[in-house]
C-alpha cells in the first residue's frame, strides 16, 4: 500500500513521523511537545509540523459539530499595523472595507496582487486606538508581510507594519459548547461578544485576545495568547471541556469542517492566479471604498465577465473527488477539484471545483475523473452545512 502520486498536491497528506531528518527543518508551535505527548499523528503542513489527527478525524469532526473541539492554530501568522493611518493602510492593501469596522470588530478580507490574483485571505481586527490586527495564513505570513511592505512603500501612510507572529500562540475553541468551555476560564462575559467581534481580556489569568471567529462553521472562539502560556492553557481548556466531551482536533478535522462550511483554503480555492470574485468572495471585495491593490484588475475582470467560478458538488456515484482531480462537463475537460472528500456530518462525498461560469450554477451534472474513470457528480449550492441559529 502506497500513497498515490495524485495526493502530492495535498500538503496535509504527507506523513512525517518517519525519518527525523525530514521533520527537523519543520517549524513547531509552542504546543508541539503537547501534541507528541498526546500521540497525535504529525504532518508537514506548509512547512509546519502539525497534528493532523489525535484519535479519529471523524470523531474529532463530530465533537466540534455536537459539543466542543480544541485546535492548535498557533502556526497562523499575526501582522500588526499601528499608527494614525493604520486603517487607511489596511484599506489600501486589503479588499474589504475596514472603515466599516467598529472598534473590537473583525472582518474577513483578502490581499491581492496588482493583477488581481490572491496573495492571501485574512482576518482584519480593529482595535479601539485605531491599530489593526491581522491574522494571516501560516505559510503565507512572510510573503504577506513582504507584499504589504512593498505595496505601501512610497505611499507615505503614517503607520508601521510588524510581523508579530512570534509573540502569539493561537488556540481555537470551536463548537456549540465552546462558549461554556471557555467561559469557565475567563471573567469576560463571552455571550456579549457577537460573531466576528473580539475583546482583550484574560483567560486563566493570562492576557488574551478573545475573538468570536472560527473556521469550522460552528460557533466558537479563537484566542491569542503569549506562546509560553499555550501548553498550560491547552490543558486547562481540555479540563474545562471535559464534561462536554471536548476533543483535541487536528488539521484533518479542521479541513472537513471548513469544507462542509464552504470556506476557502488558500492554495486550493484561492491562489495567486485566482481572484476572490471567482471564488464567490465578491462580498469581501468593496469596489466603492476607494483604491486598493488589485482593484483595477478586478474591475477589468468584472467588466469582461468572469470566465470561471467556484462551485460546490456532491458525488452521485461511488467515488471521492479529491483535490486536483479533473472535472468534465459534457464529456470534455472543464475544470478541476480544489478540495474534496467525505463529509462526516452529511455522510456524502462533497467538494469544491472551478467550472466555466455558465456551468457553475447548482444542478449542473458533471463528472469527476477518479483513477482515469469519469464518475458522476452534480453541482450544489454552498455551504453544504449551515448550523442552526441559536
Amino acid at each position: 500500500m502506497r500513497k498515490t502520486a495524485r495526493d502530492k498536491a495535498n500538503v496535509t497528506l504527507k506523513l512525517t513521523h518517519e525519518p527525523m531528518s525530514d521533520t527537523a527543518d519543520l517549524k513547531r508551535t509552542p504546543l508541539f511537545e503537547t501534541h507528541l505527548a498526546s500521540k497525535a499523528k504529525m504532518v508537514d503542513f506548509g512547512g509546519w509540523n502539525m497534528p493532523v489527527q489525535y484519535s479519529s478525524i471523524i470523531e474529532e469532526h463530530s465533537a466540534v459539530r455536537n459539543a466542543v473541539g480544541l485546535f492548535d492554530v498557533s502556526h497562523m501568522g499575526e501582522i500588526e499595523v499601528r499608527g494614525p493611518q493604520a486603517l487607511e493602510l489596511v484599506n489600501y492593501i486589503a479588499t474589504n472595507n475596514a472603515a466599516k469596522l467598529k472598534p473590537w470588530q473583525a472582518q474577513y478580507s483578502a490581499l491581492l496582487y496588482e493583477h488581481g490574483g490572491t496573495v492571501d485571505d485574512i482576518l482584519v481586527h480593529r482595535l479601539p486606538n485605531g491599530d489593526m490586527f491581522l491574522c494571516v495564513n501560516a505559510s503565507n505570513q512572510e510573503k504577506d508581510f513582504d507584499h504589504i511592505k512593498a505595496a505601501v512603500s512610497g505611499k507615505k501612510f503614517d503607520a508601521e507594519v510588524e510581523l508579530a507572529s512570534s509573540r502569539y500562540a493561537q488556540i481555537a475553541v470551536q463548537g456549540p459548547k465552546g462558549l461554556a468551555t471557555l467561559q469557565k476560564l475567563t471573567a469576560t462575559n463571552l455571550s456579549e461578544i457577537k460573531y466576528y467581534w473580539f475583546t482583550d481580556g484574560a483567560v486563566s489569568n493570562t492576557p488574551a485576545r478573545i475573538a468570536r471567529t472560527g473556521y469550522t462553521g460552528e460557533d466558537g472562539f479563537e484566542i491569542y495568547i503569549a506562546p509560553g502560556e499555550a501548553p498550560r492553557l491547552w490543558k486547562e481548556l481540555l479540563k474545562a471541556g471535559e464534561e462536554f466531551g471536548i476533543k483535541q482536533c487536528g488539521l484533518g478535522a479542521r479541513n472537513t469542517l471548513r469544507l462542509e462550511a464552504g470556506m476557502a483554503l488558500y492554495g486550493h480555492e484561492l491562489t495567486a492566479s485566482i481572484n476572490p470574485l471567482e471564488a464567490n468572495l465578491g462580498w469581501i471585495v468593496k469596489m466603492d471604498k476607494g483604491d486598493f491593490v488589485g482593484r483595477a484588475a478586478l474591475e477589468k475582470a468584472q467588466n469582461g465577465g468572469l470566465s470561471r467560478m467556484l462551485a460546490g458538488f456532491e458525488m452521485k456515484d461511488r467515488g471521492i473527488g479529491r483535490d486536483g482531480y479533473e472535472v468534465w462537463v459534457d464529456g470534455k475537460t472543464a475544470g478541476w477539484v480544489t478540495s474534496g472528500g467525505p463529509s462526516p456530518t452529511l455522510n456524502k462525498n462533497i467538494g469544491l471545483c472551478y467550472l466555466p461560469t455558465a456551468k457553475a450554477q447548482p444542478g449542473q451534472p458533471i463528472h469527476v475523473i477518479i483513477r482515469n474513470s469519469p464518475v458522476e457528480a452534480i453541482t450544489t449550492p454552498t455551504p453544504f452545512y449551515k448550523r442552526a441559529k441559536a
Binding site: 500500500m1 502506497r2 500513497k3 498515490t4 495524485r6 495526493d7 495535498n10 496535509t12 497528506l13 506523513l15 499523528k41 493532523v52 489527527q53 479519529s56 478525524i57 471523524i58 484533518g252 479541513n255 472537513t256 461511488r318 467515488g319 471521492i320 479529491r322 472528500g341 467525505p342 462526516p344 483513477r371
Partner: protein
Amino acid sequence: MSYPNNFKYTKEHEWVLIEGDNGTIGITEHAQSELGDIVFVDLPKVGAAITKGSTFGSVESVKAVSDIYAPVSGEVVEINEALGGAPEKLNSDPHGTAWLIKVKLAKPDEIGTLLSAADYEKHLG
C-alpha cells in the same frame, strides 16, 4: 500490535494468507492505523488477473487515497462484498473479517519473496 505468524507480508503493508492454491489478501494493522478512518474501498472484479507488485485497488481514508499492491499474482476468485457498505471494518479488523480479496495463485513460488511476520515487524522498526 500483533501480526499473525501464518501470514506473509509486503513492505507496502499488505498481507496474504496462503491456503493450498488460494491466497487471501488484506492490509495490515499498521496500514489501517496510518490511514485513519477508512471510508471507501475500491476492489477488482471476480475473474480479474492481478500481478505481484502491481496495484489492484485502493483504500481511501478521510484524508488520503492509497493504492493497494498485489503481494502475489493470480486470478480474483472472491471479493469481500461486506466492505462496500462497511469500509470502517478495515480499521477494526484488518487481519480478520476485513480481508479484501481471495485469489487463485498463478505463481506459488512468489511466496518465498514475501516477509515473515518477524521480518515485517522489523521493517516497521
